[in-house]
Structures are given as C-alpha cells and as structure tokens.
C-alpha cells in the first residue's frame, strides 16, 4: 500500500490554483455582443462549454468569457484561458492555442519543455499530463478557442 504517493500525485493534479479557478471561475458569463463563439463538447463525460469572444477591428481579442459545466480541470482551464488570451491579437491567441495544446499533450519530462513554455500560470496543469484521459479536459477550452477563431461550425471535441 502506497497511499502517500497516490495522495501526492493527486495534490499535483489538483493544485490550489486549479481548485480556486474551478470553485470561482473568472469571466463566467454569456457575452451578448460576442463576435466569435464556439461550443466544446467532451465526449468522455458529456460536458459542454460555450466560449464567447469579442474581436475588434484591429483583430484584437478585447473580451473573453465562457459558460457551461464540467470537471474542475476543464472549468479551471477555461477560466485561465479567458485571463490568458485577453488583449491578445488573434494571431497570438492562435499561437497560444498551439503552444498550450502541444505542451499539455507532451509526456511529462519530455525534451525541452522548460525553455519553450512561457505561460507560467498554465503550468498549474502540468500534473494533468500524467492522466491522459484528463488531458482532454485541460485542452477542451483551447480547442473551442481554436474553433471560434477559425469559424468552425461543428462543436469542438478533443478526440
């Protein structure tokens, strides 16, 4: 029996920042004036979230919000996403999508991760990478972002 290990792993997964954002998600509302929206569906658990963006004439994301329900990981991820991309250009937001999803789907302790990944807060999700079935929860909002920015019609999933 090795309960300590298991418990440590769990604390690594459910870090304080994640639990905090899951309990009190930021920017959790509908945006009536959204210019871009998308729905993300997690086929694994049936959860859905809707992402709302306001992109201005200069291709800048001036407002971001979300609604929906989901596990702590996906809610926290969506909440942190809204904070992360606020005020980014569309190009940067797209690049951010690439960086974050690549980072999260890379096995833990892979090559060169320290140098590349600059979104410090999002390191809270590093523990997720040990749980491949949960990586999808962490990336769902990001896939929705990608769909919203690229005007995809069908709901985003992480399959």
């Amino acid at each position: 029996m090795n309960y300590t290990l298991a418990k440590d792993e769990l604390q690594d997964l459910y870090r304080e920042l994640i639990l905090d954002h899951a309990r009190t998600p930021r920017n959790f509302r509908r945006l009536a004036n959204a210019t871009h929206t998308a729905t993300g569906i997690n086929a694994l658990c049936g959860d859905k979230l809707h992402l709302y963006l306001v992109v201005d004439a200069n291709d800048r994301v001036v407002e971001t919000s979300f609604e929906g329900s989901g596990c702590a990981i996906s809610m926290a991820s969506a909440s942190l996403l809204t904070e992360t991309i606020s005020d980014m250009s569309v190009a940067d937001a797209n690049a951010c999508f690439e960086t974050v999803t690549r980072h999260l789907t890379r096995p833990p302790n892979g090559d060169g991760e320290a140098t590349e990944f600059t979104f410090e807060k999002l390191r809270a999700f590093d523990g997720v990478r040990k749980y491949p079935s949960r990586v999808k929860c962490a990336t769902l909002a990001w896939h929705a972002l990608h769909a919203a920015l690229n005007h995809s019609n069908s709901p985003a999933t992480t399959e």
């Binding site: 029996m1 090795n2 309960y3 290990l5 298991a6 418990k7 792993e9 769990l10 604390q11 997964l13 459910y14 639990l19 694994l44 658990c45 049936g46 959860d47 859905k48 329900s69 989901g70 596990c71 702590a72 990981i73 749980y131 079935s133 949960r134 929860c137």
Partner: protein
C-alpha cells in the same frame, strides 16, 4: 473452476493486479465484466488447436470449429430457455441486435402514423436505432417517463400503448440507475394491444436467471462482454415465427442457400441473420462464460449481488455529502451517486488513484441524466467477484476525495 462464489475472485486474472500501488477494486462491471480464466483459455485454446472457418469445410479443423461454434449456440439456447436453437442469432453485441430488429422487423412495416414506444431509462443503444428507423419511415418515437426514484411510470407507459405502437423496446435492467423493470407484467399489457416487445437484456443477463419464454417477450438482446464473455459477441433471441418472416439484415456468405444474379435463396434460421464469417473464437468464449455462470448458478449469483448491493447502498448513505441517484424498489448491482458538488469526472480520477475503478459520466443514458438535471454521475457497479472489502475501499476513497476538495 470454483463452485463457491466467495472464492471465485481468484478465477479472474485481471483482478489479481495492483493499480496505483493498491490492489484493484473493480466496480465497473456494468460497462464491461472481467473474464474468468476459463473464458480466456477457451478462446486461446480454440485459436491454438481448432481454428478454421465454420460451416463449409470438410476437413477436421473446420469440423471442430463448427462443432464448437454450434455447441455454444446450444449452450445459449438452454441458458435463456429458448425453445429452439434456430432462435439464437449471434451478433457483435446488444447494439447490433437492436439495430437488426429495428431495420429488419420494423423498417418494412413502419409508416407515418405508426409509433415506437421506449422509456426515459434506456441506454443510447435502445434509443438511437429507433430514432434512425423513425427518421427513415416517418414513424414517431414516444417515450414513457420515469419518476424521481428512476422507475418507469407504469400508468403512463400503459397509457401510451395503442394500436399505433408497432414495437415496445424496454431495458430489463437500467445500466445507469440499476432499476429492474417488471418486464413480465409490462409484456402482458403490451399483449393486449398486440404490441411486440423487445427487451434490452444487456444488464439483465449478468445478474439474474433469464427465461425468455417465461418473460413472454418477442425479442431479447444481450452482449457477451457484460456477462463475463468476450467483446464482439452478443445474441439476438427472437421468436421463430417472427424471425422467419423478417428479411435478412446483412447480405454475405453463409446467409444464403443459393446465389445467382436472377434469384438468391436465403438460408434457414439462424443462418439467414449471420452473414459473413462470425466471431467464432468470441462465440466459443461466450459458451465458456455460460458454463462458468452455470457452474456457480445464477440464483446464487443474484443472491450474492443482492446482499452486496444492499451493503453498498447502506455504506454510501453513511458518507456525508453522498446523494444517491436511482432509488427504485427493484434494483440490481448498479448504484449512481453524486458526492457534494465534486464533478464525477474528478471523483473518478481520485478514486482511480486509490485503485478503485468506477465509471463516471452519462453512461450512454443522457436522457436519464437530463431527467435528474445532471450531466453525469459516478457509478459503482457490481459483479459476481466483488465483496464487502471492495465496498469498504470505495467508501474510504470517497472520504479522501472529500478531503482534497474540502
């Protein structure tokens, strides 16, 4: 092979392992049961010694394979008390069996104005095939409601029965909530309107002795992997008179007597519905699963699981913050629940980290979830190999989850 339920856990190789450093507590049998060594070995032995294609060969291996495959059919016939081996149609699972009935029995007779009757309790496999055939034919899908305990409202169900209903499709046991439907009584009422009844027995077979003639239904569909047999196997049982009149579902080898471009003569039952090379190894494994279950005795399995289920419900109720979903009077081996406002998905991960395997999510029964205003639940489901220690581990693990999310 053991004859004693208390000892039978050792017959299951998969249960002898550690997960996250602790011995595995498998509470996900409703999704798929683990297999006893007797089944695994029967499949492997077949493949090592007796494999060949069935039905059309004169050589020794082909003959052996055919005898083993058809022998499994005889075992299944006896196990569910079908009157004739021709009524046992091997499919790839419950899902294919239900689609077969929707397409071969219903599609040719359905039109605008006709109805298919199901309930809010059903698994997607007993919903979507009917939605598809309704879309194809213009018929209407009507749905009997469930109450707050997760029981089908019988009065409402009976009120929906009429001459317009061309099929009642109902689960024997709900995989999401564990509710056992009073199928025999329901069938009697359906008879009064001449409504044929298909029973989705995916969750019935593993937990109780099933007698299809006793139930009085017209079709009974189930999967091998839910009853300790291999994946990719299943059975559609149907009354011979109905099966005889149905057109084939798929075309191919073995389902014909004679093919020419002018005229093709279909084979007799059950072969008319078994197009192509069947899952020979899987069906032989399913036969071995039946042998195993019979060596224990379905009555003993039911009694063991009933005892465990009561123990589990009691224990769960003693955990602060647990809310049971599915509290029907008649239940079998499945309990859904919520813990505080912890999302089931998080709960599943935390339990897995303590070696406890449960299922979380919608359990392919989204309407049930919608009925309870949820997107998913945590679900612990029992098999014949579980014991009270497993339940105790579950409860300990739930307490830890509360700590983490405190």
């Amino acid at each position: 092979m053991t004859q004693n339920i208390a000892d039978c856990r050792k017959d299951f190789p998969a249960l002898q392992q550690n997960i996250s450093g602790r011995s595995l507590v498998y509470l996900d049998t409703a999704a798929s049961a683990q297999q006893p060594a007797a089944v695994i070995d029967a499949v492997a032995q077949y493949q090592r010694e007796n494999h060949a294609n069935v039905h059309r060969g004169v050589h020794t291996l082909s003959h052996r394979a055919t005898e083993l495959y058809e022998g499994a059919r005889d075992k299944l016939r006896a196990f569910i008390n079908a009157s004739n081996r021709t009524e046992i149609i091997f499919t790839s699972g419950t899902t294919e069996a239900i689609n077969l009935v929707a397409q071969s029995y219903c599609r040719p007779i359905l039109g605008a104005g006709d109805q298919i009757l199901i309930t809010w309790l059903e698994h997607h496999s007993n919903i979507v095939p009917w939605q598809l055939v309704c879309e194809q034919t213009g018929a209407e899908l009507i749905v009997a409601p469930i109450n707050d305990d997760g029981e089908v409202g019988l009065d409402e169900l009976y009120a929906l029965m009429s001459d317009r209903v061309k099929m009642l499709a109902i689960g024997h046991v709900s995989n999401a909530l564990g509710t056992v439907n009073p199928v025999r009584r329901i069938v009697e009422r359906a008879r009064q309107h001449d409504i044929p009844v298909l029973v989705d027995g995916a969750q019935g077979m593993p937990h109780m002795a099933v007698d299809v003639q006793g139930l009085g239904c017209d079709f009974y569909a189930f999967s091998g992997h839910k009853m300790y047999g291999p994946t990719g196997t299943g059975v559609l049982w149907g009354r011979e008179a109905l099966l005889e009149d149905m057109p084939p579902y798929q075309g191919g080898g073995d389902m014909i007597l004679e093919v020419s471009f002018d005229n093709t003569v279909y084979n007799e039952l059950p072969y008319k519905f078994e197009a192509g090379t069947p899952n020979i190894a899987g069906v032989i494994g399913l036969g071995a699963a039946v042998d195993y279950l019979q060596s224990l005795g379905m009555e003993k399995i039911s009694a063991h699981e009933k005892h465990l289920h009561d123990y589990m419900v009691n224990k769960l109720e003693s955990v602060d913050g647990v809310r049971l979903i599915g509290t029907a009077d008649e239940k079998a081996s499945v309990q859904s629940f919520m813990l505080d406002d912890i999302h089931p998905h998080d709960l599943g991960t935390i339990l897995d980290n303590q070696g406890v395997a449960i299922r979380t999510g919608h359990h392919c029964a989204m309407p049930v979830m919608q009925r309870f205003g949820l997107t998913g639940t945590a679900r612990a489901s029992l098999g014949l190999y579980n014991n009270t220690d497993d339940i105790d581990c579950l409860v300990v693990a739930l307490e830890k989850a509360r700590e983490i999310f405190a």
